[in-house]
């Protein structure tokens, strides 16, 4: 009885919204509303001092326990923001547990990490810093090392009242990461430049939508705004075998049975650059990834021709870093 009442309410609500949407404001926004993918716009509100300081720290190996790796070691912004390995190498060549997600456009993700355990970029930094098989250190050690560096001390004193602090290091690195926005040819296409991408790529985009990839890979970051079960239309993990903790996905965070094998839907921006694919790095090529997605997520078989077009479309998503974000790799 109660649920019925609620449903009636919902229906009336929906019709109300429908009337609103159709009648007025929707006309102006319709072009954007109708496209599930939104064009990417670089951030204009960043503090450049912080961005530059963040870039230095992002490339600073002193952020690892044995001064062997920096953030950039795994997140090479010249390699699509990843290391292009199935799993990353940490300190002392320790093998990581999961495939490195790209740092590019990561500020647009609704949460960080494959399992979404960090709600912000700042929170995310704590992860690799402390992981034994990643940077394996802690903030007091990092601060001890960085405080020897007068230029850091001076720069932080200039930007922050309390100078060089863990929170401030996280703040500048996050600010730098927020600057790593990569608009692509496809964004120009979305903004109305019809010849920004090839006809095949346009066809690929149409297929991408028609096959339902866009059900999850949508929004401005073409993904990165929801959790989705890996294996909607088939049991991916059973087929792959050898299930480990990383495969449990968001369940590791929520301990909710419903979240087992659910992952943050990754952004498809720069996807052509970030092979191998998936959290386990199991798909070595884009074609493999498209095949697996079609099979386990869409429950469809895809003709090779369609695969090819979709891959072409995906390649149009590789973007350009803004000038100040492009940087040297240590």
């Amino acid at each position: 009885m109660k649920i019925h009442k609620v449903l009636v309410t919902i229906c009336s609500f929906i019709s109300l919204i429908a009337v609103f949407t159709l009648s007025g404001s929707a006309v102006v926004e319709s072009a954007e509303l109708n496209e599930p993918i939104q064009p990417l716009k670089p951030r204009q509100d960043l503090n450049l001092e912080k961005v530059n300081l963040g870039k230095l720290l992002f490339n600073d190996k002193r952020l690892s326990g044995d001064n062997s790796i920096s953030c950039a070691s795994c997140h090479d912004i010249n390699k699509g923001g990843v290391d292009q390995l199935p799993v990353s190498k940490g300190v002392g060549d320790a093998s990581g547990l999961i495939n490195t997600p790209t740092v590019l456009n990561s500020s647009l993700n609704f949460r960080q990490f494959w399992d979404g355990r960090a709600s912000s970029l700042e929170e995310q930094i704590d992860g690799p810093i402390h992981m034994k098989h990643e940077m394996n250190t802690d903030w007091p050690s990092i601060l001890n090392k960085l405080k020897q560096d007068q230029s850091y001390v001076d720069s932080f004193n200039k930007v922050y009242k309390n100078g060089l602090q863990a929170d401030n290091i996280k703040d500048v690195i996050s600010e730098y990461e927020r600057s790593l926005i990569t608009p692509s040819r496809f964004d120009r296409y979305l903004q109305g430049q019809k010849d920004a991408i090839t006809e095949n790529e346009i066809k690929g985009y149409e297929l991408f939508k028609r096959y339902g990839c866009v059900a999850c890979h949508q929004g401005v970051n073409i993904g990165g705004n929801m959790y989705q079960l890996f294996g909607v239309m088939g049991d991916y993990f059973k087929d792959r075998g050898n299930i480990n903790d990383s495969d449990l996905g968001h369940f590791n965070v929520s301990k909710n049975e419903q979240d087992r094998h659910k992952f943050k839907v990754p952004s498809l921006r720069n996807i052509a650059l970030t092979a191998p694919y998936f959290h386990d790095g199991s798909a070595k090529t884009l074609r493999d990834a498209v095949k697996i997605m079609a099979k386990y997520q869409l429950g469809r078989t895809m003709p090779e021709k369609d695969e090819e077009l979709i891959i072409q479309f995906l390649q149009s998503l590789s973007g350009e870093l803004p000038a100040q974000a492009k940087g040297e790799k240590q």
């Binding site: 919902i10 929906i14 929801m226 959790y227 079960l229 078989t301």
Partner: protein, 607 residues
């Protein structure tokens, strides 16, 4: 006094502290905060509403991406932080506020979880729903192509075709409807299709499989999504916001009441302070008024002071003049006293020669009738010579008488005696004359007159005057040296010497000597008067020149003698010194400069 200041200071500090305390209490209620909190709560309401709206839009496929469902959380998180920061202080006071905020935060977490579920479910559902018509179309066209290759239509193919078309209709109907009971027959239908799947050729079976799987997704997910939506919408978000609002309002109201109380107290306190201030002001004004009166009096006093000073000065100068006058009188009387003292002696001195002059002249007078008789006889004698002889008798008689008388004179030695007497009288008169002269010398009134004076002579005249005091008692030894005449006021110096000599004689009880010595040394004339008297005790020696100091009985001496002497000598530019030994005698030495330039007009005081 300082304790009082300290107490006052502490008291005023205390009163100011109370004022500041009340003021801060009144100010503690920040109305901006209040507006911000109520505004934030309103924003929470509207954002939650918008979030719901976006979710429903997504459900309706009016929105084709999930950014609009995801992003409100970001805004909501910052709003939550703002609200939590704003309310954290107040939550300490109100447990119901704290509770309601917690409930709200929990409901937001719950809502977020539900929406995450919804996004995942809806994406799959939406995709399958979109695809199902295509999948059924594909299946139908596959069946058609299989059928067209055969001349005779396969009834099972036709049944599948119609079943799949019915399925599509039912699924669409199911999607549009809110009724749960439609799911059952579709699920049943799908189970039948699933069981028949293997009887179809592979090309059809694959398509059918896709249709069944996607249809199952639609059938399964639809109720789940509906239930999620129902849960999302029925979350007590607005109720919780309302609870926060109520709890906050309660806290705020109590704060307002507190503020009102403190405000009233502040007003009352300020009133009391004002009254106190007014009282102090009144006191101060009174003090000032009194001060003004005193100031005026002071001014008047200042103004009259000069007058009074002039008056006093005049009085003083009058008194001074009177004093001077009385001093002069005193000095004069001292002079008269010493003079008087002398007069008795002088009178005596004069009396003695006067007495024997008197008796001598008396004696001479006694002789005078005999002389007169003789004279008459002689005068008659010539007549007798002229007379006849008869008359010789008478001549003879007369001659005899003369002869007799003359013999009597001769016999008695009357002429020698008379001569002697008259000589004695003359010398007596001379003595008197000398005495008078000395007296005149001594006390001549022309004090100012300065002349070249021989002090030895002066001393002599003094001795004459003092003779009466000295005789039969004191032996005077004069040891006068050759001294130059000096310029001085002789009468004054004589007064000094008389004083010293009389004093010396008075110091001598029985008999003794007074030695007067004069001598000159380097432009100074010294007069030394030494007696063999009883001397002056050492303890009073320094005081003998003080005015009014006397060892004599009251009424016997003025005590001014030596002080006047001292002054006179000083005014002559000289010195007077004393040396005394008890029972041996006293020695006064007066030294006077030969060429002194004293202005004798100043002698007035001494005179």
């Amino acid at each position: 006094m300082s304790l009082r200041y300290f107490t006052n200071f502490v008291l005023s500090l205390f009163m100011i502290a109370i004022l500041v305390f009340l003021y801060t209490k009144v100010q503690s209620l920040n109305i901006d905060d209040h507006y911000e909190i109520t505004d934030t709560l309103r924003q929470h309401s509207s954002l939650n509403f918008r979030w719901n709206e976006q979710v429903l839009k997504t459900k309706l496929s009016l929105s084709s991406n999930y950014d609009s469902v995801t992003n409100p959380l970001v805004d909501l998180r910052s709003l939550q932080n703002k609200l939590n920061t704003k309310l954290s202080e107040l939550s300490v006071e109100s447990s119901s506020l704290k509770e309601s905020v917690e409930q709200y935060n929990n409901s937001i977490e719950e809502k977020n979880k539900l929406i995450e579920q919804f996004k995942g479910q809806n994406a799959i559902f939406d995709n399958s729903l979109r695809y199902i018509s295509t999948a059924i179309e594909d299946l139908v066209s596959e069946i058609d192509s299989q059928s067209s290759s055969n001349t005779k239509p396969n009834p099972t193919f036709l049944a599948l075709k119609s079943a799949s078309q019915t399925l599509l209709r039912e699924l669409l109907e199911f999607n549009q409807s809110a009724q749960q009971n439609l799911a059952e027959p579709i699920t049943e239908q799908l189970r039948i299709l699933e069981s028949q799947k293997k009887s179809f050729p592979d090309t059809i079976s694959v398509k059918l499989d896709a249709v069944i799987r996607h249809a199952l997704v639609v059938v399964k997910r639809k109720p789940e999504i509906d239930s999620l939506l129902a849960k999302i919408v029925s979350l007590p978000i607005s109720t919780n916001i309302e609870k926060i609002e109520n709890a906050y309002t309660a806290v705020y109201d109590s704060r307002v009441r507190d503020k009102d109380f403190y405000f009233t107290t502040l007003i009352a306190y300020a009133g009391v302070l004002l009254a106190l201030l007014a009282f102090i002001g009144y006191r101060l004004r009174n003090s000032y008024r009194q001060l003004n009166v005193l100031n005026k009096q002071l001014t008047v006093a200042n103004e009259t002071l000069e007058e009074r000073v002039a008056q006093r000065t005049e009085e003083l100068s009058t008194a001074y003049n009177e004093l001077k006058q009385s001093q002069a009188q005193l000095i004069q009387s001292e002079k008269m006293a010493s003079l008087g003292q002398m007069v008795a002696g002088v009178a005596h001195e004069i009396n003695t020669p006067l007495a024997y002059c008197h008796s001598n002249i008396d004696l001479v007078k006694e002789q005078l009738p005999d002389i007169i008789t003789l004279f008459k006889e002689f005068a008659n004698f010539p007549n007798l010579l002229d007379a006849p002889e008869s008359e010789q008798q008478a001549l003879k008689e007369g001659l005899g008488t003369i002869q007799e008388a003359m013999l009597a004179f001769e016999k008695e030695g009357s002429f020698d005696e008379m001569n002697l007497l008259l000589e004695g009288s003359l010398s007596g008169l001379n003595q008197i004359s000398d005495m008078v002269k000395s007296l005149k010398d001594f006390s001549r009134l022309d004090q100012h007159k300065v002349e070249n004076s021989d002090l030895n002579k002066g001393l002599d005249s003094v001795l004459v005057i003092a003779n009466n005091v000295l005789k039969n008692k004191v032996e005077i030894i004069k040891d006068y040296g050759e001294i130059p005449k000096i310029s001085c006021s002789p009468s004054q110096l004589n007064q000094v010497f008389l004083n010293l000599i009389v004093n010396a004689s008075q110091a001598i009880e029985d008999t003794g000597t007074i030695t007067l010595r004069t001598y000159s040394t380097n432009n100074f004339v010294n007069i030394n008067i030494e007696d063999t008297g009883k001397g002056i005790p050492q303890d009073i020696l320094p005081r003998i020149f003080d005015p009014f100091f006397t060892t004599k009985e009251i009424g016997k001496g003025t005590g001014l003698g030596l002080s006047i002497a001292y002054k006179i000598i000083q005014q002559h530019g000289g010195t007077i010194t004393v040396r005394s030994e008890v029972n041996k005698g006293t020695q006064f030495t007066v030294s006077l400069p030969v060429n002194q330039k004293t202005d004798f007009k100043n002698f007035e005081v001494a005179a």
